[in-house]
Subunit: 152 residues, 3 copies
């Protein structure tokens, strides 16, 4: 099966959205550095600055895992569930970031939700890759059957 742009277009759309979100987080750190007078290369500052900085670092740290799992799920399973979960992950990360900026405790509920979306993306991509190997061995794809039930 050849890869075409049409089979990854929604995953690409969520990826483009993720660029804007990452850029938004990066800007918040630049503003916080100015506001709390924390010049690079210093990373230590008032807790208000450190929360913005940690929120950005955490979002950036998980970004490769997010992109790779969404694309693997989109390519090896199906782009619709992959892009829906990816979109929900981005929403949760937005709430996580702005919750963390207010208070360290407020970061937790959206962080748990984002982690759940990431786990689902990893699970879907694992299912897709395992099914890819299995379907060749047994001549039957469970994933295709399930997708068919959902009309995908």
């Amino acid at each position: 099966m050849a890869l075409t742009l049409d089979t990854v277009e929604w995953v690409a759309a969520v990826t483009v959205l993720s660029f804007l979100e990452q850029a938004h987080f990066a800007w918040q750190v630049i503003y916080a550095r100015r506001r709390y007078h924390v010049s690079p290369p210093r990373m230590a500052g008032p807790p208000e600055f450190e929360r913005v900085s940690r929120a950005q670092i955490n979002c950036f740290e998980y970004y490769p895992l997010f992109l790779a799992s969404m694309w693997a799920a989109g390519v090896f399973l199906h782009q619709v569930p992959a892009s829906v979960l990816g979109f929900l992950y981005l929403v949760a990360r937005y709430k996580y970031f702005h919750g963390y900026v207010e208070a360290a405790e407020k970061r937790l509920p959206p962080l748990y939700f984002a982690a759940a979306m990431l786990r689902l993306l990893c699970a879907l991509s694992t299912a897709g890759v395992v099914d890819h190997f299995l379907s060749r061995a047994i001549g039957y794809s469970l994933v295709q059957s399930v997708l068919h039930v959902f009309g995908l």
Copy 2:
């Protein structure tokens, strides 16, 4: 439209170049740790060490965003503008790194240029994905017309 290696070869070439640059930055931190006697897991040290460390962290932080936006622009728009902007980004990052190592202020001009290249890559990939959806809806691709003017 099926993806072929020929339509992403220049983006791949810039990606390979980016590996060398990331490896170069990583080495600079290893040398700086030895030179300024900062043993892992410690991150704090003299400002000279912290500038090298922060420069490397910043380059690595933005690396996934750079790769994803260059590839999305290369696949959904065209590899020539994507790889040219990607190459200029790598040059700017090189100047940023070695400027930052000398003095914190010297990091800014190349950082602004790198940020501009990254914004352009994100804009091109957004244009490519939006045009991909629009061209199916209205049967006319503005991006293809523009590329045609440039002989691509």
Copy 3:
């Protein structure tokens, strides 16, 4: 040459494995934060905590470079050497992480091995991309000849 799922299936399998490893590292930091009472956004703590934290940060920092070089090697050269090296990289990273948690010196042997695997992946992807351009210019692919000798 069109890209198909079959030509990247082993690289995809190692990628899925890498998700599990990254998730495992992330969990270790969460456990260490609880164990050593280091609440976010604080990053400083007892050396035992800082070693876990630095080990995770180092693995996450190199993750994009690992994924990009394994995929570039898999797509532009061949998935079998790319996925074998990628698998060995993941094994080395596991030993690095748990060595570092015990003592800073124990991180070095597996780190050197992981770095060697990463350098090989970068070299293979460079060879693949260079051969891709060269084979069009001179009508002969050295990489294909070498792969043929190995029965790939």
